[in-house]
């Protein structure tokens, strides 16, 4: 008698499962190391941050965050003596470096700019993308294939290839260093991706849903809002995440086109200079804070993504 063990033809064996699990965890750890290092650095003191060999264990400090949010000036010991005792917190930390807080830094306006521009352009790109994709999916658009190809072709070259013309154009029409200019630019880059992604999702939604709604007395627009949008939610969430990630992280255009009013975080962060060079803990603190919104946004939408609105009510 030969011994046979029953196992599924499709399910992975326990060994395969363990090996693949280990690989995934290992990969996750490797990709997490730089992130973890940045968060750690943000809690180091400047000397600790550039210590060699690098310090893995250190005494946490809020100096990076204090430096990020303030501008400081060095004072003579005599002057410092004459001041009243520092309040605990940033005041004390700064004082210990023989400096006083001169005022707030630009980080809050820059952060606000990033939020306005990234979320604004994401909203616009997803909005335009959804209605465009719907039109391509449901109506007979003349030369639809050619137009869709043209829309896609705007992504064939890296956006930065057109940086100089855009720079000149923006300067000429006064869009340089404005929120509107940056929103329009990021929307233009993202909208092609949004159209293509969303068209795929909307194509998957059977027309019968809207048709049923239209027969039940709804206008097309109403049916679109009540029936198509809820079912495209998964696709819209996914598209929004992609668009947001691009607009949030975009560096090249931001460096080129913004300097003050509309400057976003990416060009701001590398230029956080401390005394005698780069203030690494402050840079790391800025980066850590910069990661949070997109992290939260993704987590929020992740629930939505995973819920996977099923198309189960329509049997294929």
């Amino acid at each position: 008698m030969s011994k046979t063990t029953a196992h599924s033809v499709v399910a992975p064996t326990p060994t395969a499962r363990r090996v693949s699990g280990a690989i995934v965890i290992l990969y996750a750890l490797i990709t997490m190391i730089p992130l973890a290092w940045i968060v750690m650095t943000s809690f180091k003191t400047p000397p600790d941050s550039i210590a060699y060999p690098p310090k893995v264990l250190f005494e946490p400090s809020l100096e990076g965050y204090c430096n990020l949010f303030t501008t400081r000036s060095r004072q003579t010991p005599e002057y410092l003596e004459s001041l009243p005792a520092p309040e605990p917190g940033c005041d004390a930390i700064v004082r210990s470096r023989n400096m006083v807080i001169a005022g707030p830094s630009n980080v809050i306006p820059r952060f606000t700019n990033s939020i306005i521009i990234a979320f604004g352009s994401t909203f616009l790109a997803v909005f335009l993308g959804t209605i465009t994709a719907y039109a391509f999916s449901r109506f007979k658009v003349p030369f639809a294939d050619d137009i869709l190809f043209f829309i896609l072709s705007t992504r064939f070259m890296p956006p930065i290839a057109v940086a100089i013309p855009i720079f000149l154009m923006y300067r000429a029409i006064g869009l340089s260093d404005t929120h509107l200019g940056m929103i329009l630019l990021y929307t233009a880059v993202n909208v092609s991706l949004a159209v293509w992604l969303l068209k795929g999702f909307i194509d998957e939604i059977p027309r019968e849903y809207e048709e049923a709604a239209m027969i039940d007395g709804y206008s097309r627009l109403h049916a679109f809002v009540k029936v198509v949008l809820p079912q495209a939610a998964t696709g819209i969430a996914a598209t929004a995440i992609f668009c947001l990630i691009f607009a949030w992280n975009e560096y090249a255009f931001a460096v080129l086109l913004t300097s003050g009013t509309a400057q976003t975080m990416p060009p701001f962060i590398p230029f956080i200079i401390g005394e005698g060079g780069q203030d690494w803990p402050a840079v790391a603190a800025a980066t850590t804070l910069f990661l949070i919104p997109i992290f939260v946004f993704t987590i929020l939408l992740r629930k939505h993504l995973l819920r996977g609105i099923t198309f189960g009510a329509v049997r294929k």
Binding site: E208, E211, M214, I215, D216, G217, T310, F311, V314, R315
Partner: protein, 365 residues
Amino acid sequence: MAEIRVEKLHKAFGEFVAVRESDFTVADGEFFVMLGPSGCGKTTTLRMIAGLELPTSGRILLGGEDVTFNRAAARDIAFVFQLFALYPHMNVRQNIGFPLKCEGMPRAEIRARVEETARFLRIDHLLSQPTSRLAGGDRQRVALGRAIVRRPKAFLMDEPLGTLDTEFRDLMVRELRELHMRIAATTVYVTHDQLEAMSMADKIAVMNRGDIEQFGTPQEIYDRPATMFVADFIGSPPMNFLAFRGSVEPGAASVGINGAIVDIPAPREARPEGDLALGVRPEHVRFDDGSKLRGTVFGTEYLGTTQIVTVTTAHGTVKARLPADIRAEAGETVGLSLRSERLTLFDGGSGRAIRTAQNEGTHHG
């Protein structure tokens, strides 16, 4: 409720004609079935009636009013889709109440109407369930509920049982028929299943490649097929055709098929010498040793009380429905007699039935 009238309805997609000059009237309260093979234009016709597709030409009248170019929303029709199209992001209650919400009906009234409808369809216990977890039959009932809750002028149903398994199908056929008896709503029902059509319809239109081949009651369609296509499409096994050459004189009592004289219902029109086909239902074929119409038994299919015996003849294969106790051995030579008054003569070229005493008054599409 209202009568539906379709006049010279035509739909072409570019060169391709999906529906050709269709004409029919569904009387108020009638259960009308459009029957035909896949791709014959049933759905297209239905979509034009619903207002989801604009006809190339022709008119659609609903309760006497010309609605040909009205928007779907303005027609007051309910549509049950083949795939039910239950909104996955709403539960059963919301699905059924959806059409009422559009009319701006007050919440309390919607609630009452939805519950009444659900009780009527015996799905009131499912109201708070998400639609994705429903079984096929319940899904079907929810789709019906969404259709009847509004009390529309007419119901259109596109193969609503197509995705159900046979067992459920029989049950739903009965339920649908019962539902129709209770609310007597004008209904256009599309199917490619002849059994469904025969068991539910007041009137049937048999379609083929965009044409309505015949329009009539199930009995008419079965007993007096207007074309060979209809004769072949309806019945299982379908009608047998004995091909032969000959001519037809008005009033003649018989035709000669290769020396065998077969009595026929008296023709009402003449046909010159040409290809003809004699159509006979399997239940109208008998074994008869004296008959000159002879063939060889090819095989038998036992069905309990009856059996289907396949006989190969010089004019084509003939299937006979015979009592199960008649012995028929494969290879045996048998004579066949046909029940004269139930025979249909067809023109072999056009496939059309030749008018006889038997099929007078049959409607072509």
